[in-house]
């Protein structure tokens, strides 16, 4: 379990992390979602004891990271944003070194098992500096898994991977989440919703929303977005739309497409829209309702904060 209270980090005048508090339960996968510069990496660097906080408190499995850093660090496997690799070593040498640092007992056996998990077996004797970006990422990830730490902290673990590798990596993180407490960061929404039990949306060093990916998607509440393509003049279409309650709309291109946002929409809002146009004898050629994606909510939340 991880407990974070009122975490603050200043770099000179810059408040990189500005009063963040949260807890992560055992075997939970928590996502940090936020744009570049939001403070995700800085928070992770504090969680792992790489840098100190300006103020606040971090407890890893009940152990304070400042009071007893060595014991706290034993609980953590960390994959930083840029995997911390020595290019001159072979993958096996590097992993052995990482394992020794962590005080792993049965080094060879554990390295082989972890390498198999992340799919590194075929490159074990290659030099780290010659690996592709994907393999470098896996090497760093593999090192984080050594010693089977209770907590895994993964900073943008899928950056630089190709689509197949991303799917593999997500599957791996999900399965690890059954036995580990995981925090992962990303600025990609689909990634977070694919693997996380809970999401913290971070912007400008603050948590601006916290929920399950599903609930967040529903946060738009009753708002609905409908795209229609109508055969009719602008004025006629506007006249119909203006006659409806709680509707805002905008024209999309020249093809007669409109994006319609209905606040406080009822279930049959789509039907009502259809009949309104039918009554005005304007045929709707195409009508589709769009799910409000996490993306929309994200943009809305971060927009309001600036």
């Amino acid at each position: 379990m991880i407990e974070v209270k009122n975490l603050v980090k200043h770099f000179g005048d810059k408040k990189a992390v500005n009063d963040i508090s949260f807890t992560v339960n055992d075997n939970e996968v928590l996502g940090f979602l936020g744009p570049n510069g939001a403070g995700k990496s800085t928070t992770m660097n504090m969680l792992t004891g790489y840098i100190s906080m300006t103020s606040g408190e971090i407890k890893i499995c009940g152990i304070d990271i400042l009071e007893n850093p060595i014991e706290a660090k034993k609980k953590i496997g960390y994959l930083p944003e840029q995997p911390p690799l020595y290019p001159e070593m072979t993958v096996r040498e590097y992993l052995s070194f990482a394992a020794e640092l962590k005080g792993v007992k049965n080094i060879k056996k554990e390295i082989d098992a972890a390498a198999r998990k992340v799919g590194l077996t075929e490159v074990m004797s290659r030099r780290v500096g010659n690996l592709s970006k994907g393999y470098k990422q896996r090497t760093g990830f593999c090192a984080a898994l050594l010693g089977n730490p209770e907590v895994l902290i993964l900073d943008e673990p899928t950056v630089g991977l190709d689509p197949n590798q991303i799917i593999e990596m997500r599957g791996l993180i999900k399965s690890l989440g059954r036995e580990h407490t995981v925090i992962l960061s990303s600025h990609i929404l689909t990634e977070i919703s694919a693997v996380c039990d809970r999401v913290l949306i971070i912007n400008d060093g603050r948590i601006i929303a916290e929920d399950t990916p599903k609930n967040l998607a529903g946060r738009g509440g009753k708002a609905k977005r409908i795209i229609i393509r109508v055969d009719g003049g602008d004025d006629a279409v506007s006249a119909v739309l203006d006659g409806l309650d709680g509707v805002t709309y905008s024209k999309l291109g020249e093809g007669g497409e409109y994006e319609i946002n209905i606040s406080n929409a009822s279930k049959d809002a789509g039907k009502k829209l259809f009949f309104a146009f039918a009554k005005a004898e304007l045929p709707i050629l195409e009508q589709r309702e769009e799910e409000r994606s996490l993306e929309d909510i994200f943009i809305e939340l971060t927009k309001g904060d600036k």
């Binding site: 792992t48 004891g49 840098i51 660090k73 034993k74 290019p87 001159e88 020794e100 640092l101 962590k102």
Partner: protein, 233 residues
């Protein structure tokens, strides 16, 4: 500490740094040895080591300039500083790896000296104490180099700032030579290079030993502090 020591030592040979250092050191030592001992039929290595004290100041930073600066550039310090290992162990592991390189070089140089025994009588007490003194002086220079490497992100800056410090210390001895009275004693006391003369007399003077070892400890402690402090920026 053992893991760090092993990795650093190995890395010296994986990255050529170790070969560059050994080649430069042994070539220079061999050259001076040929000129003074072989050509001059002198069985004392005191003079050669005395000359080397100035030269090594330029060679040893090869070993230390990458020590911390490179880890920060590669971000591998994130691996070291988030591992369950105290900063002290990281610093000591790195320092001892560099010290092991120097020790190896000096052992090879000691073999040069052994060949002198075929040509005449070697004053072993003097030879051993000269080597011991030289060895510790190298330790001091490595500790200063480590400290400089911990201060900066760039290994070039690390190397040149180490040179700067060492040039000043070399000059301390030279200034002392023209100074007089109390000033001279103070400068000589401060200069690690002139302390080396004590060892050349064939006695392991405890005060000189303590002086060198204190300097090594001082700079290692400073390196640990700086490395810890950087993370509290």
């Amino acid at each position: 500490m053992k893991a760090i020591f092993k990795r650093e030592l190995r890395s010296y040979f994986l990255t050529m740094t170790g070969y560059i250092f050994l080649t430069m050191f042994l070539l220079l030592a061999g050259l001076l040895f040929c000129l003074f001992n072989l050509a001059g039929s002198v069985t004392s290595v005191k003079g050669v080591l005395g000359l080397l004290t100035t030269w090594e100041a330029f060679i040893l930073p090869i070993l230390t300039m990458r020590m911390f600066a490179e880890d920060r550039r590669l971000k591998t310090d994130q691996l070291l500083m988030t591992a369950p290992v105290p900063v002290k162990s990281v610093v000591l592991g790195k320092f001892f790896a560099a010290f092991a390189m120097v020790t190896g070089a000096l052992l090879i140089m000691l073999l040069y000296t052994v060949t002198l025994a075929f040509f005449g009588t070697v004053n072993w007490a003097e030879t051993i104490s000269s080597f011991a003194g030289f060895w510790l002086l190298c330790g001091v220079i490595l500790a200063i180099g480590a400290f400089m490497s911990a201060l900066t992100d760039s290994m070039i800056v690390a190397a040149f700032s180490t040179y700067a410090v060492l040039i000043v210390t070399v000059f301390l001895g030279n200034i002392a030579a023209v100074a007089s009275g109390v000033l001279q004693s103070v400068l000589l006391w401060l200069s690690p290079m002139s302390r080396f003369d004590d060892f050349g007399r064939g006695i392991l003077d405890p005060s000189a030993l303590v002086y060198y070892i204190s300097l090594i400890v001082l700079f290692i402690v400073l390196t640990v502090k700086v490395t810890e402090r950087r993370r509290f920026a």
